[in-house]
């Protein structure tokens, strides 16, 4: 046993990094070169080394033996044989196969032994046009993505040096002063991420994934990559609101005109040099037997770049489509590559390797994101409601707990406590939200609010005319409220961990001054609501956000809020 070891390495190459260890910061920086963070709960953070993460490290100059030496040096307990052997085997396969272009022909070149070992795979046989020599095969160009994907799954990474077609040229530059008049420049890490992605326009760059924590400006990285490449671009996002936000950012921070940026949505199907669409629309079809009629968008213009926002949410049909357009540059943006379906490896194969990854802790240390304090406040049910609650059906109980009238005074306390901070009050039930809006004299934003009215309210919120917005589930979507420093969750979905994460995510953008933000979730004591709150918080705990538990104060008491802030 090595008591100075900062990490525990398991046989399957799961690495537990002891964040309390004085040398953990240094170890983490190196570990991130070949491993991926999966959980940040408590003092032991979980990382995973996979073939893809290792190959990316090898591409960045590490060797398999370097990785083994690092793990041996830092491991608290002996390095399992399987872990060591896996690193050796995976690294021995790296660089053995590469794709190259020769005119219109696509070539798979490399080590004859490796090529021989994959020759008998059925899927390969169908894609090979001819075997020119024992170290050079000609491949069908349309199989470029599928080939990479299948070989990666078999444990043979393919270095794709076949290059990209230029696509339709587009004159575009980043503005030094935004259209709204603010000074604009890329942050250092955003600049680095773009450089890593483009790699000076060589065949080694041009495709890959940039991983940045929520709130650090992933959209800006996408906008800058687009400007750097200067080609017609298709941007795919996870929601309509997010698509709108992309459009605003492009118009605000680049020289693109409105005529050049189109939203491809249900209402208007504009295919412009820069077109923004949602995954939902692309994967829409009338029935399971029908085709995805909007998937043709991939070929409607000679795109030079495709940007996949929230790439961890990429749906399977878009995956399949992406496999066929490997000659087009591709940029994936995400805060996490942990996919619920475990297909993170496929993202790397089809979109490209991880080009840039900034750890959440580094982002917080660099003040690129705000420091958010989370607290759960238990609010008792009024005595008059207790009997109703006990005798209600299971479903009705949840609603009674969610709409607990005692929550409103607590909201008032919190708003008073954080007076001057832009605040969101978020809830599930319209009746409750209406009451809250009326009580707090704040505008109410719901799914029924017309788009224009919503934008007007956003502006009023940004300018401070309305420091408090009461919002329904719409706040769950990717709206942009850059100066919200306080969020109070009156009620949430039963256990949607994504929902809570997104609500906290709203607060992460850097704040002027102390760069702090607060998230309060109000739950009714002694009801089912506390159980669901616990489930929602679990995901956040694993992302490194601890919750302070607070009791609801008496009506005239403000002190608890102080505790929440310090906690």
């Amino acid at each position: 046993m090595n008591p100075d070891g900062t990490m525990i390495v398991q046989a399957d190459l799961t690495v537990l990094l002891d964040e309390k260890h004085p040398a953990s910061t240094e170890a983490r920086e190196q570990l991130l070169a070949f491993a991926e963070a999966t959980k940040r709960a408590g003092s032991m953070h979980t990382y995973r080394i996979t073939p893809m993460t290792l190959w990316q490290a090898l591409g960045a100059g590490w060797s398999g033996e370097d990785v083994i030496a690092f793990l041996k040096k830092n491991a608290r307990y002996s390095l399992p044989l399987q872990a060591e052997a896996s690193v050796r085997i995976w690294s021995s396969r790296y660089g053995k196969l590469r794709l190259a272009a020769e005119g219109d022909a696509l070539l798979l070149c490399g080590d004859p032994d490796t090529l021989q070992s994959i020759q008998d795979k059925d899927f390969i046989r169908g894609w090979v046009v001819s075997i020119r020599t024992e170290s050079e095969w000609e491949i069908r160009p349309d199989c470029r993505g599928s080939l990479k994907l299948e070989l990666a799954r078999l444990g043979y990474p393919v270095m794709d040096h076949a290059g990209y077609h230029a696509g339709e040229a587009l004159q575009v530059q980043l503005r030094e002063q935004t259209r709204s008049g603010a000074v604009f420049s890329l942050r250092d890490y955003q600049k680095q991420a773009v450089e890593q992605f483009t790699k000076d326009g060589t065949a080694q760059g041009g495709s890959g994934v940039v991983v940045l924590p929520c709130g650090t400006g992933k959209t800006i990285v996408g906008v800058a990559a687009l400007a750097s490449i200067g080609a017609a671009t298709l941007i795919l996002t996870s929601s309509r609101t997010s698509a709108q936000q992309w459009r605003d950012e492009l118009l605000d921070k680049t020289t693109l005109s409105e005529a050049e940026v189109g939203l491809y949505s249900g209402r208007s199907k504009e295919v412009k040099p820069v077109t923004i669409a949602t995954y939902q629309l692309l994967t829409y079809r009338k029935s399971k037997l029908d085709d995805f009629k909007h998937m043709g968008l991939f070929n409607e213009r000679d795109w030079g770049l495709i940007i996949y926002d929230e790439v961890h949410l990429l749906p399977a049909p878009v995956f399949r489509m992406t496999a066929t357009i490997q000659a087009t540059r591709r940029l994936g943006l995400t805060a996490t590559l942990v996919r619920e379906d475990g297909c993170a490896e496929d993202v790397y194969s089809l979109i490209g390797p991880k080009q840039y990854d900034m750890h959440w802790k580094r982002a917080e240390e660099g003040s690129y994101i705000a420091s958010v304090s989370c607290a759960e406040i238990r609010v008792p049910l009024p005595a008059s409601h207790e009997h109703t609650y006990t005798s209600a059906s299971a479903r009705a109980k949840l609603r009674i707990a969610a709409e607990n009238p005692n929550k409103l005074p607590v909201v008032r306390h919190l708003l008073q406590k954080h007076k001057g901070k832009p605040a969101l009050v978020i809830g599930q039930y319209l009746k409750q939200l209406k009451e809250a809006a009326s009580e707090l004299d704040a505008p109410l934003l719901t799914g029924e609010t017309p788009h224009e009215e919503r934008l007007r309210l956003y502006d009023a919120f940004r300018s401070g005319i309305h420091p408090v917005l009461v919002v329904s589930k719409v706040a769950n979507l990717a709206i942009d409220l850059p100066d919200a420093a306080l969020a109070i969750q009156l009620s949430g979905s039963f256990g949607s961990r994504q929902e809570e994460a997104q609500r906290v995510g709203r607060l992460l953008r850097p704040k002027p001054g102390s760069n702090e933000a607060w998230f309060y979730t109000l739950v009714t004591e002694g009801t089912k609501e506390t159980e669901f709150a616990l489930k929602r918080q679990m995901f956040m705990l694993e992302q490194g956000y601890g919750y302070t538990q607070l009791e609801a104060p008496a009506e005239d008491e403000n002190e608890f809020a102080k505790e929440a802030i310090s906690g």
């Binding site: 046993m1 525990i8 398991q10 046989a11 399957d12 537990l16 959980k39 709960a41 408590g42 003092s43 032991m44 307990y77 399992p80 044989l81 399987q82 052997a85 896996s86 050796r88 759960e376 002694g526 506390t530 159980e531 616990l534 918080q537 679990m538 705990l541 694993e542 601890g546 919750y547 302070t548 538990q549």
Partner: protein, 680 residues
């Protein structure tokens, strides 16, 4: 038979007599008792050096031929004749010396036939002293082996750990026997799931067990090992835990526990393995944490296991299979690690014995805010025991990860745990650190509603009148047993106190009705609460080896789950006779001319024949000068064919005797060879 079984059969004064043998001189000087010396590798090695050649050859030949299995007298003598250069009288002297030193024993079977044996727990020390196996450590790049699908085969969790999982599973489920006298099917399935044994690795050995149509070999092994350790017993139609021995067992350091289990298992396997016991001996002579080549082990085992000691190609395959049977089992039980080692261009299949923590921590848990609990490899079993009841095990690789969930906490409450106790345990096992507040919140949430109501099977003491109820209350020794009064005439009483209450009432002149209603009969005992970390400290302060030996010395066979192979303890031990039984050597020697053994002479052919016949009768060897060279010959039979005669026997040339037929013209001179130390 094992040492403890033997000790029960022998009068204690015999132990001292054994130590008077010159064989044990070194051990006696160190003050060792016979029972300790017999299982002490150093004492046994020294004793082997002090043995006479007859004793050593006899023991070597016996172990070589029979391993740890008992041997019938005639088969033993035949083996000695075949495997040694000794004459019959010399064999008898050797055996007698071994018996006098308490190394070899005999039992008498029903028809008077003698069975010789050495106590099975002393087999390995003797095997390693008499057949030292010099395996050489291998160094090079080590890679894990792969299974048929190409996946890496890592180390298995050690048997002791899996035994803990199975025991925890058993005590959380239905441990009562069905009408067939076996555990319910569901329970057996849970045990198998907890043990995760590849059954074929166990079944490769000739082991037999009770209810084999219901229990897997793994479950039988687990039940046997738990029964032998004394913390699981059959009682009242169910399996019940014994908390004190369980607590002590859980407090053992891993190294000691696994070593003890290995020794315990060997007691079964060695007796059922014949000469293959030498394979176990050879493997166990390898040092810990060092890699050894399986091929080397095979070469070393071949002469011991093969029938004639030669290493032929087809035999090698068989020996390899036999060797792998042991290696696979040790690997399956988590005691051995297998790999492929690359040394230059050569590749070797290698093995190494794993070492386990010799000191355990009871405060090293890491409790994460999301409810995950990380157990370091040196986490004590007492802590793991508690985790098994409050949390769900997530992984089986080191470090083992648990997670508290609403279901696991609900189950823990069912087992009598409370939120306070869980919090206290996690804090203590986490080194005193406060629990992360989300964990506190989870526990609060999950314990808030479950088990707030409970059913309890108690008994009702029903009085036929208020007057009788008052009478009961006035009995001073009875009053404390009346837990609660219900109405005017009834009391709640603890079911377990019924017989006491009955006798108290009887004494007071009011014998209660004999028939009783429902009682707690059939209720499962709660999951035992193990105090942490007290036991480990206790053991360190005293003598953990002594505690360990209690679990693994195995006076009994663990509730008769596994059938004991070659069971001898039902037979009559002939040790008592041994003390008084003189060895009858050289019968009729007094009538033999002394010149026949004093000097080599060339005799007439008829005298040569007579001398040979005398040697056969005396069971001695003769010395022959053949072509000027002196050779020993052990004559067995003189054959007459017409006027010609010949003698058959064993010619001693080199280490192994050679069966020969000699005619009188084949030697120049001869004399009788009396055993050393015989004076006439």
């Amino acid at each position: 038979m094992k040492m403890l079984q033997l000790m029960e059969k022998l009068p204690p004064e015999r132990f001292g007599l054994f130590m008077e043998s010159p064989i044990w001189r070194d051990a006696a000087e160190k003050g060792l008792l016979w029972q300790d010396a017999m299982v002490d590798p150093v004492a046994v090695k020294e004793a082997a050096r002090r043995m006479s050649s007859y004793a050593q050859q006899s023991l070597r030949a016996m172990l070589r031929q029979f391993g740890a299995e008992p041997a019938a007298e005639d088969r033993l003598l035949q083996a000695l004749r075949e495997r040694t250069s000794m004459a019959g009288a010399e064999c008898r002297i050797g055996l007698r010396q071994l018996e006098s030193a308490g190394i070899l024993f005999a039992v008498r079977k029903m028809w008077g036939e003698l069975l010789y044996f050495i106590p099975v727990d002393s087999f390995l020390p003797w095997q390693q002293a008499l057949f030292p196996c010099r395996l050489e450590e291998k160094n090079g790049i080590v890679n894990p082996i792969t299974d048929a699908s190409g996946a890496f085969v890592g180390v298995m969790e050690p048997f002791g750990r899996r035994k803990l999982y199975a025991l925890a599973a058993l005590l959380k489920t239905d441990a009562s026997f069905t009408a067939k006298g076996v555990l319910p099917k569901k329970t057996i399935q849970k045990l198998d799931a907890a043990l995760r044994f590849q059954e074929s690795k166990l079944r490769a050995f000739p082991i037999n067990w009770a209810h084999s149509e219901h229990y897997s070999a793994a479950v039988a092994l687990f039940l046997s090992a738990s029964g032998a350790a004394g913390f699981l017993r059959k009682e009242e139609g169910r399996l019940l835990p014994d908390e004190a021995p369980l607590q002590d067992w859980l407090a053992l350091p891993d190294e000691q526990r696994e070593r003890g289990l290995l020794q315990w298992l060997l007691l079964y396997l060695l007796r059922a393995s014949g000469r293959e016991a030498h394979i176990a001996g050879a493997l166990l002579s390898a040092g810990k944490e060092k890699w050894y080549s399986i091929q080397d082990a095979e070469s070393l085992c071949a002469p011991l296991v093969g029938s004639n000691g030669s290493l032929q190609a087809d035999q090698t395959l068989t020996i390899n299979r036999r060797l792998m049977r042991w290696i696979d089992l040790f690997h399956e039980l988590g005691w051995m690690e297998l790999a492929e080692l690359q040394e230059g261009r050569e590749r070797w299949m290698v093995f190494r014995w794993r070492s386990f923590p010799a000191e355990m921590r009871t405060d090293g848990l890491i409790v994460q805010p999301n409810g995950e609990i990380i157990t370091p490899p040196d986490c004590g079993h007492a802590v793991r025991w508690e985790l098994e009841t409050i949390a769900e095990r997530q992984t089986d690789q080191e470090p083992v990860m648990y997670r508290i969930t609403s279901a696991s906490i609900a189950a823990a409450l069912e087992q009598g745990r409370s939120r306070d106790r869980i919090v206290r345990f996690l804090k203590q096992a986490g080194g005193g650190e406060a629990l992360p507040s989300p964990v506190e919140a989870m526990l609060m949430e999950w314990t808030r509603k479950a088990c707030r109501f409970a059913f309890d099977q108690v008994s009702l003491l029903r009085c036929d009148s208020v007057e009788m109820a008052e009478h009961a209350l006035q009995l001073p020794e009875l009053a404390p047993l009346l837990l609660q009064r219900l109405g005017d005439k009834d009391f709640i009483v603890d079911s377990r106190a019924i017989s006491d209450i009955r006798s108290m009432l009887q004494k007071s002149g009011y014998p209660p009705r004999k028939a009783i209603g429902t009682s707690a009969e059939g209720a499962a005992p709660p999951y035992p609460e193990i105090s942490v970390p007290q036991p480990v400290r206790d053991l360190k302060d005293t003598d953990s080896d002594a505690v360990a030996s209690r679990f693994f010395s195995l006076k009994d066979d663990g509730g008769s789950w596994l059938y004991e192979p070659s069971s001898l303890h039902h037979f009559e031990l002939v040790a008592e006779e041994q003390a008084a039984r003189p060895v009858e050597l050289l019968p009729g020697i007094e009538s033999v001319p002394s010149a026949w053994w004093r000097q080599l002479r060339s005799y007439h052919a008829s005298t040569r024949k007579e001398l040979m016949q005398q040697a056969v009768m005396l069971e001695t060897a003769v010395q022959l000068r053949v072509n000027g060279e002196l050779l020993s010959f052990v004559p067995e039979q003189v054959e007459q064919r017409g006027n010609e005669w010949a003698v058959t026997g064993r010619l001693i040339a080199g280490e192994m005797p050679e069966r020969s037929r000699l005619t009188p013209d084949m030697w120049e001179e001869m004399k009788l060879l009396l055993p050393e130390g015989i004076t006439t």
